[in-house]
């Protein structure tokens, strides 16, 4: 079955190649310089793109987002999903920055060494989250011992002795080509962690030889991926060339990738129009400017990402008026139905504002059960997803009236609230009188769009519920909404976004429980917590997803946050044939250029839509089990 699809896919690709004249070069831009070439530390997408294309892990995602073999040719998991064993391809060499074979072969030890590097706090790998430290047997203890030693708290042992304890961590090379991970709890979605940079290999002898200089230049690296770095100039360009010794060299259609640092989107657009680039991401203003030009038919909207934007409300606010209201379900429901999401989204997308709304915290196309069914298609969450822009003025006003009846004494005094001053300097300062209108502070980041959105948000609520009932104070932070508003608890509501970490709803729902890592509103719902806990115990994905979907439905119904928009979904001009390269909602392998086809002429929006339709039909067939 699989083979048949492969043949069909290959056939389609070849037809496309013949029809449009495929290019063997991909020219693109990046706006922010990657911090270094040390591929275990990839704080931004430039780093992630380089890491994904120059290093391979055990598994990767294919163009349908499925986990497929990469340097591991096969794997097996224990029935309880706690022990995962991977069998490596034999004879795959590490190559240097000239694309030449080195004396090193990629072995299981390289994966152990990679993880040893990541787990040493001295190497400053920030992405080693507490969840991952607790997931792998022995890792948290190993890591914390080293932390304590570095802080001077352990004096009876040497650092080398503690490093020797890595043998107790559940990452082991059983033989030259077999690596085994032992996990502390059942993790049926473990493969989705392996597409992260943390699980990449490194050659020990080479690492020891370069020491602190590892990754500071292309010469201080070895490559295991589809490309090697042939040229790297800080703050200027990165050129990748196809690795001739790559285990899957036949799939590498683009032979040279050239990435240039161009900060200004206007220059990027001009360069695309002059034929110097293979793709360009457009701003909303650029899309407007291209309307009516010969390029208008080439503009299309790319796929959304798994990043979700939501409005956070502070359940423990120091503003007693808002605290009284937000802890009332009818008030939250009034906001839920009162926020016109499509209208708010017009600021980012004036053309199809309803197309990129997302009503759930767990994105679609990110977590699939053992039968290939998307979590987002489970009935409880599908109903929420399908509701689209559920803005309903009458319902919102009705809920607001109920809230007023419950929270106030009917004469405009908010029950249990005394006059006070809310000191949130330097962001805001409020004098509250415990009477209507309810005063609330909406905190937002600087920038034209966020500022416009803040004003729209204020106007929307004050018009809908009346200025005599609600008054929104806008407060802008300088740079960092977390450091300036969330952590010091200086907000009633704010707008934030979160990416999705791995292929399980717990990636989002698990950190929204009481005291969860992204529970910025500090709400607590024992019923929700219990459902999340119950779901997390299940090892069969469909059983797990069923309970998670109930938990999410309850979470949305009680309006703890207001998810409303997808990330990504940018307007683009491109010569890259869509859906020919890997995709996924997390990790780095989705950034691989492997399989990518670049055509001679820019895509038209019609061509994009046709390819998209064909792709989804193909994917639905391919992923159905």
């Amino acid at each position: 079955m699989k083979r048949r699809y492969l043949i069909v896919a290959l056939g389609l690709a070849l037809c496309a190649l013949a029809a449009v004249g495929a290019q063997d070069r991909y020219n693109a831009t990046y706006t922010a310089e990657g911090s270094s070439l040390r591929y275990f530390y990839t704080p931004d997408t430039t780093d992630q793109r380089i890491a994904a294309n120059t290093q391979d892990g055990l598994v990767e995602q294919d163009r349908f987002g499925r986990f497929v073999p990469s340097l591991a040719e096969r794997w097996e998991a224990s029935p309880d999903s706690k022990v995962w064993t991977f069998y490596l391809r034999k004879g795959v060499p590490w190559v240097d920055s000239k694309g030449q074979k080195t004396k090193y072969e990629i072995t299981a030890d390289d994966f152990v060494e990679g993880f040893r590097y990541v787990a040493d706090p001295k190497n400053g790998i920030k992405n080693l989250s507490r969840d991952i430290r607790r997931m792998i047997v022995g890792l948290n203890d190993y890591y914390l011992d080293l932390v304590d030693f570095d802080a001077g708290k352990i004096k009876d042992k040497t650092r080398d002795q503690l490093l020797g304890n890595f043998t107790k961590v559940g990452v082991k090379a059983l033989d030259t080509y077999t690596i085994q991970y032992t996990l502390a709890r059942p993790t049926p979605y473990f493969l989705s962690f392996l597409v992260m940079e943390l699980f990449l290999p490194v050659e020990k002898e080479f690492l020891d030889s370069v020491g602190e200089n590892f990754g500071i230049s292309k010469e201080n690296l070895l490559f295991s991926g589809a490309y090697y770095i042939s040229d790297w100039q800080r703050d200027k360009q990165i050129v990748l060339k196809a690795n001739p010794l790559y285990w899957d060299a036949k799939s590498v259609t683009v032979k040279t990738v050239s990435l240039q640092k161009i900060v200004d989107p206007t220059i990027t657009l001009q360069m695309f129009q002059r034929g110097e680039l293979s793709s360009a991401t457009l701003t909303a203003e650029q899309v407007k400017a291209l309307a009516g030009t010969k390029w208008a038919d080439n503009v299309f909207m790319a796929e959304p990402s798994t990043v979700t934007y939501w409005f956070v409300q502070n359940f423990t606010s120091a503003n007693p008026e808002f605290k009284a209201f937000v802890n009332n379900l009818n008030f939250r429901k009034a906001l839920y139905y009162g926020l016109d999401r499509a209208k708010l989204n017009e600021l980012d997308d004036p053309y199809q504002p309803a197309a990129t709304l997302r009503n759930t915290v767990v994105p679609e196309q990110a977590a699939f059960d053992e039968k290939g069914k998307d979590y987002a298609d489970y009935p409880e969450v599908k109903a929420i997803r399908d509701a689209g822009n559920y803005y309903d003025k009458a319902k919102a006003q009705d809920y607001f009236r109920k809230a007023l009846a419950e929270v106030t004494d009917g004469k405009g005094t908010i029950k249990g609230v005394q006059p006070a001053t809310v000191d949130w300097k330097p962001i805001a300062e409020l004098k509250i009188d415990g009477k209507l209108p309810l005063q609330m502070v909406y905190v937002y980041l600087p920038g034209a769009t966020e500022t416009k959105r803040a004003f729209l948000f204020k106007a929307m609520l004050e018009d809908l519920f009346g200025k005599e009932n609600i008054q929104v104070t806008l407060a802008q932070v300088i740079d960092d909404i977390f450091a300036e508003a969330v952590e010091p608890r200086r907000f009633d509501m704010l707008h934030d976004n979160f990416r999705f970490g791995f292929a399980d709803p717990s990636a989002q729902l698990g950190r929204l429980v009481t005291k969860g890592a992204v529970n910025d509103g500090e709400f607590s719902d024992p019923e929700f917590d219990k459902l999340v806990d119950e779901a997390s115990q299940k090892t069969v994905l469909s059983e797990r997803f069923k309970i998670f979907s109930k938990a999410e439905a309850l979470f949305i119904d009680r309006c703890y946050v207001y998810p409303w928009r997808m990330g990504g979904a940018s307007y683009m001009l491109s010569k890259v044939v869509p859906f020919t390269y890997p995709r996924g909602g997390f990790g780095i392998t989705r950034f691989k250029y492997k399989g990518m086809i670049v055509q001679k002429d820019p895509l038209t929006s019609k061509q994009y839509e046709e390819l998209k339709k064909a792709f989804y039909e193909e994917m639905n067939k391919a992923t159905a089990k």
């Binding site: 310089e33 080693l128 001009q270 110097e276």
Partner: protein
């Protein structure tokens, strides 16, 4: 003269020490939260954050950090970047980036001086004439309109018209032209307007009137006396301008995608990259002070009336 040089050297060392200690201490007052993003706070617990800060070396007390920094500099080790380009040696970063700023800066300076001084002379010689009018219009436009606007228009129009690359490529010399011209435009205006002003000032002085009365040809007066005297105040800034070209231009390097030093210090401060900030501040402070000092020497060499060793000499 020697005592003057030694005195200036002593003053310079004290100035550099004050600058570097102030910057060093200010950096230590920055909040540690600046080393973490929103995502980091989600992923890392307190122990991981502390461990990360320790790996950067910012958890040690400021005295230890200063001794480490000063000792490193004395040994020629400027440390490694901690957040802008983590682990990269600071000197490697500067060595990679400085030549771009330096070469573009020097080329632009030559162009600015060549065209600016010529324009200044023509404007002064033909005061209120055509050259002066056009020169004044040019200077007014360059100084009055925000540079971003005309820099951007030059990039868009000229590259479009001539089919040149929009950004800088090391292996395509044609792409070097526009950034150099763009860098020079304000310099041309600066040299032109100041030289014109100083020349006009000189022309009104008695010795010029006397020379004219003596029948010395105007060309000779302008070349031998007026120009030479008018150049004195300008020449004082020349060494500083040459040396500080290394700092690059944030705007022009950004729009032409030149991997120079422009913006590096701003980035380093924003990301609290202490070793990088310290190294750059030290470098710029030393170059600035050396520039002023050389400017004084040069001025004294050009104008024999200036005596540096005297009580009134030198640019303080």
């Amino acid at each position: 003269m020697l005592s003057y040089i030694l005195k200036r050297l002593g003053q310079s060392l004290i100035t550099v020490a004050i600058v570097i200690i102030t910057v060093f201490l200010l950096l230590r007052l920055m909040p540690k939260s600046g080393y973490f993003t929103r995502e980091d706070y989600v992923n890392m617990d307190e122990s991981a954050r502390t461990a990360y800060l320790r790996s950067l070396g910012v958890m040690d007390d400021p005295v230890t950090q200063f001794v480490r920094f000063a000792g490193g500099v004395a040994r020629g080790n400027w440390g490694r970047s901690i957040s802008v380009y983590p682990k990269s040696p600071v000197m490697t970063i500067i060595k990679e980036k400085a030549p771009y700023s330096l070469w573009f800066g020097l080329a632009a300076l030559v162009l600015s001086m060549g065209l600016g001084l010529t324009m200044g002379v023509l404007m002064a010689r033909h005061k209120d004439g055509v050259f002066d009018t056009f020169g004044t219009i040019y200077v007014t436009i360059v100084r009055a309109i925000p540079s971003l606007i005309w820099l951007f228009l030059i990039q868009q129009w000229v590259t479009g018209l001539l089919g040149w690359p929009m950004v800088f490529y090391e292996d395509r010399p044609v792409s070097w032209i526009l950034p150099t011209i763009s860098l020079a435009l304000t310099g041309i205006a600066w040299y032109a307007i100041w030289l014109r002003r100083f020349m006009v000032d000189e022309e009104n002085k008695d010795y010029v009137k006397f020379a004219t009365a003596k029948g010395i040809p105007r060309t000779r007066i302008m070349r031998k006396h007026v120009l030479r005297n008018a150049l004195v105040p300008l020449i004082q800034y020349f060494p500083q301008q040459v040396l500080l070209t290394i700092a690059g231009s944030l705007l022009i390097e950004s729009i032409y995608s030149i991997p120079g030093m422009g913006g590096l210090l701003v980035n380093a401060i924003r990301q609290q990259d202490n070793p990088l900030v310290q190294a750059l501040v030290l470098l710029y402070a030393v170059l600035g002070i050396v520039g002023v000092f050389l400017g004084d020497l040069l001025m004294a060499a050009v104008d024999p009336r200036i005596k540096l060793a005297g009580a009134q000499g030198g640019q303080e």
